[in-house]
Subunit: 568 residues, 2 copies
């Protein structure tokens, strides 16, 4: 007897679940409804459509074989029915039926189901700021908004743009508007860094410097208080610090799970407002599945739940739901929190927890920061990677890794190598010996991912007493008043100019002279060891180990300082 | 009381072990000896020095801060003694001393040790082929050979070159000679594919086609029988099939562990001829450590031992030995077999076992082959990845993954993502949901690594009955005599020309018409379903599931055929 499957929502998870279910069970009668007229599009591709990399909106709705994924496509090629312009109003779990409404005709109808799938997604949060209803203020909620934004850009109507929110979508949209269309673009972020909660502040600062190099202003710790509106149209954004002129404003301050329908049906809702599901993606009603942006997920690193609205997770969960719909038990265990973003010529990526996130979740954690080339150092055309590994003290467990690098797959490769392991609770020793494939054009013999783990271990075990860029600058700025001596162990060509500039506070003793010049180092002052990347200064610290000097080591060295915009 | 540490061998592992040991224990008295005059060089960089990417041989011997790593460098910057031109003749384990000889003066001396490290590396095998002693025939054993080869190339003395051995070093050298220097280069490989034992034949064939596109001939299943020699100089290579003119010949037919010294000292030697070590890298004598190219290692995927001479492993093992020397217990658990190589504009990489290797080790295994872009399919400038996953039947365990892609880090990223997990014995389900970071410029929402696992699962569970390129061609070549019908489910624009060309054997029914045209498919013939990449043909197979047609699916589709050089 064929089962009736009803799926509410047709962007990512819905079509995936339906396609998988009907492959496994071709007898299933599947209907997918969506209130929109357009379904099955790559929402994550919207910024690339807006910037012009993807010429037509249809590009986001087509298969790699150039078939447009509309209702007809799914009926013909996949064998399930799609009803667009159809909204679900109410679930009757007792009768196993859903009240739906045609958004054009207003006609209501009841659809029965044996199994129901909630793929209702998320909605961008619209902050209650005075003037937010003005023309020219957009959320990035669907493909129609994207078309409207691109229309204004391509018509030359956007000289100045403001993005509220320095998260992933905000930054991708900022790049899209600034890069090809040349809009003078400003990002305003309430928190004290861009990409808050995703990556740590030092890496975020490096990303922000790059945005600024590319002409995008980013104001952090700043809050929009109202919009300037003339004739119903937005003309600017007032913040607690300034007024920024704007022809167009993007609201990208986060999304909320669309869990209202589920909540009204009495299904369990979690602390993030997402629908609660088990490992088989079943809600508290076993005949109702849910996945994608409307659910919360177990956090495989931190424990507990998390909310991770990502198209990639929706697709993978959709397949798991499809299998279960067809009677084949499969599970989705949770998320580790992988993330990647292109920012002009850079790439920022992470998996697992940032240091700040780890600490806020109660982990006693620290971070190791390493600067290293993505290829063998002798191989030409390598790029520098700036990476940070977050580890738990005591257990030496690796909680996450993040970084910034060039706009290619070299950072992805390192983050991806850790993403898959995190659920096995690796220690620094596991990553120290991770068998990352090696040849000079692709990696170093001791690749940065191995070096990060080694560095973390040295820090955890007290051999490498590090300070980060912030802590360095605190000492450096106060160098007149404090007792700190900066010892630059690089060659004279690099070290001497700074010694000349900063006098008694800065001493240049190249590493190869250090053993002979120990007596030049005071025993009663804190010594900050400095080199280009933090590795020779670690060597120096080891040399000084038995000399009872009071040393700390600048992680990432002068190279790391430069990357956050500090030129000594 | 300071301990005496003696290290024999100074290329990769030796200096690493010494540097780590002295960082942890600055009181240690460490001496490193090497019979060569040159130590601590990036041996894996030799092809890039020969081709000119690395201008000077010193580039391979310098730190990223441009310090030359000679004996002086290690004494001054690291604090241990290096004696070059010094050969170890004999180990006296009872007295804990080593008899050494100055290779220049011939003077012998005895060095005592508390701990000894064998970092004796490997030697290239010189096949006993008549004429092998002629001038112009080289192994790639050290940097001196590299200098001599480059000299001949740069002096224009090499119009034609032959490489014996189609393994990694052979192919890297072939590219080095052909690319910049324009030498007409031929690779001769005894086995029936290039990169034997590393990757499977289908991927190897794709790599070979690329070599051929770049003007490098590769003859497989061919054996050199003698060298043509005139006036003591090589002028050609005779094989069992032809004579190839050559001004220069590279012997790259494998390396053997230098375990003679250890064997004579009575240390345990394994089945590969490598020194046997435990997880702490101790030999059968706990005061003697060994690592790098002279040891064998546990195979973490297959079980048992393996021989994996790689500079990257040597470095990582060197650090572990250094820690243990300093009294800090650390382990190196074994290898999973990661590998990567640049071939002109391509990259070939793998981790774990190939299908052939898995089968020869007794695994009941199969392979899933997938062709997919490295970025979201709608994102511009993506490149195709051709990847294969090897899985064990029954357990659904993933044994390895391999592939070919563009010369950047996109393939590395996918192989690296699996490399770290293999030791945890992942199943296809683990990789299906592997949280590879996603954004359109870097990956697909369902990335190829996830799709590989999904495809493997569908094959393992009998839903996707695949044939590979070989099996397809067998049927296609015999199409006149056999009963097979080829059903091309692509659009008419792609399918109709082949239908016109191959008449009754080739039928074009686009996927979206398949449900309506079921009666055109015979029930008594084997139907080979074909599309561009193998995914729509899988869809077709699912549609036909309940129709009791006898179907198989060409893995990787027409795209995969093209990549191995088959144009229908």
């Amino acid at each position: 007897m064929s089962q009736k499957i009803l799926i509410i929502g047709g962007v990512a998870l819905g079509p995936k679940a339906a396609s998988r279910a009907i492959r496994l069970d071709p007898t299933a009668e599947i209907t997918l409804i969506d209130q929109d007229s357009v379904i099955s599009y790559g929402g994550c591709g919207i910024p690339y459509y807006v910037c012009g990399d993807v010429a037509e909106a249809e590009g986001l709705r087509s298969t790699s074989f150039h078939s447009l994924r509309d209702a007809d496509y799914f009926a013909r090629e996949k064998g399930f029915a799609v009803r667009t312009g159809t909204r679900a109003l109410k679930i009757d779990r007792q009768k196993k039926q859903v009240l739906i409404k045609d958004v054009n005709s207003g006609r209501e109808e009841i659809l029965p189901y044996d199994k129901l799938v909630l793929a209702t997604g998320s909605s961008p949060f619209t902050p209650p700021i005075p003037g937010v209803e003005a023309d020219g203020i957009f959320t990035i909620s669907d493909i129609h908004k994207a078309v409207a934004i691109k229309e204004r850009l391509s018509q030359g109507r956007v000289g100045r743009a403001v993005v509220l929110g320095g998260g992933a979508i905000g930054l991708e949209m900022a790049e899209a508007m600034a890069d090809l269309w040349g809009a003078e673009t400003t990002v305003v972020e309430m928190m004290d860094q861009i990409l808050p909660r995703l990556i740590d502040k030092n890496i975020a600062l490096m990303a922000q410097r790059h945005l600024e190099e590319k002409g995008v202003a980013a104001y952090t710790s700043e809050r929009a208080t109202s919009f300037c509106v003339e004739d119903g149209k937005v003309t600017g954004v007032k913040t607690d610090k300034r007024t920024i002129a704007a022809d167009l404003v993007i609201l990208a301050v986060g999304v909320r799970p669309n869990s209202g329908l589920a909540r009204e049906a009495g299904l369990a809702i979690g602390s993030f407002g997402g629908i609660v599901v088990n490992r088989r993606m079943q809600t508290s009603d076993p005949n109702i599945y849910a996945g994608g942006d409307c659910v919360e997920m177990p956090d495989l690193v931190a424990g507990g739940s998390t909310y991770a609205p990502m198209g990639s997770l929706a697709n993978r969960q959709g397949r798991v739901i499809g299998s279960n719909l067809a009677g084949k038990p499969e599970t989705f265990d949770g998320v580790v929190g992988s993330f990647i973003i292109k920012l002009f010529d850079n790439c920022v990526s992470k998996t697992g927890l940032s240091l700040e996130a780890a600490k806020s979740l109660g982990f006693d954690a620290l971070a190791a920061f390493v600067v290293q080339a993505d290829k063998a150092h002798f191989y030409p055309d390598s790029s520098m990677l700036y990476m940070q590994m977050v580890v738990e003290k005591g257990t030496q467990r690796v909680l996450g890794v993040q970084g910034i690098g060039p706009n290619n797959s070299s950072l992805l490769a390192r983050i991806g190598a850790v993403a898959g392991i995190l659920k096995y609770r690796p220690t620094v020793q596991d990553i120290a010996n991770l068998e990352f494939p090696y040849a000079p054009p692709f990696a170093a013999a001791m690749d940065i991912i191995n070096v990060l783990a080694n560095t973390a271990q040295n820090i955890l075990e007290g051999r490498n007493r590090v300070i980060n860029q912030d802590e360095f600058m605190e000492r450096f700025t106060n160098r007149g008043a404090s007792n700190t001596l900066f010892v630059d162990v690089r060659a004279a060509a690099q070290g001497e100019p700074l010694m000349a500039k900063y006098g008694p506070h800065w001493l240049n003793i190249p590493n190869n002279e250090l053993r002979q010049r120990l007596d030049e180092l005071p025993a009663d002052r804190e010594i900050v060891l400095v080199c280009n990347a933090g590795s020779r200064s670690y060597d120096a610290m080891c040399m000084l180990q038995s000399s009872s000097k009071n040393t700390v080591n600048l992680q990432g060295g002068i190279g790391g300082l430069k990357r956050v915009g500090i030129i000594l």
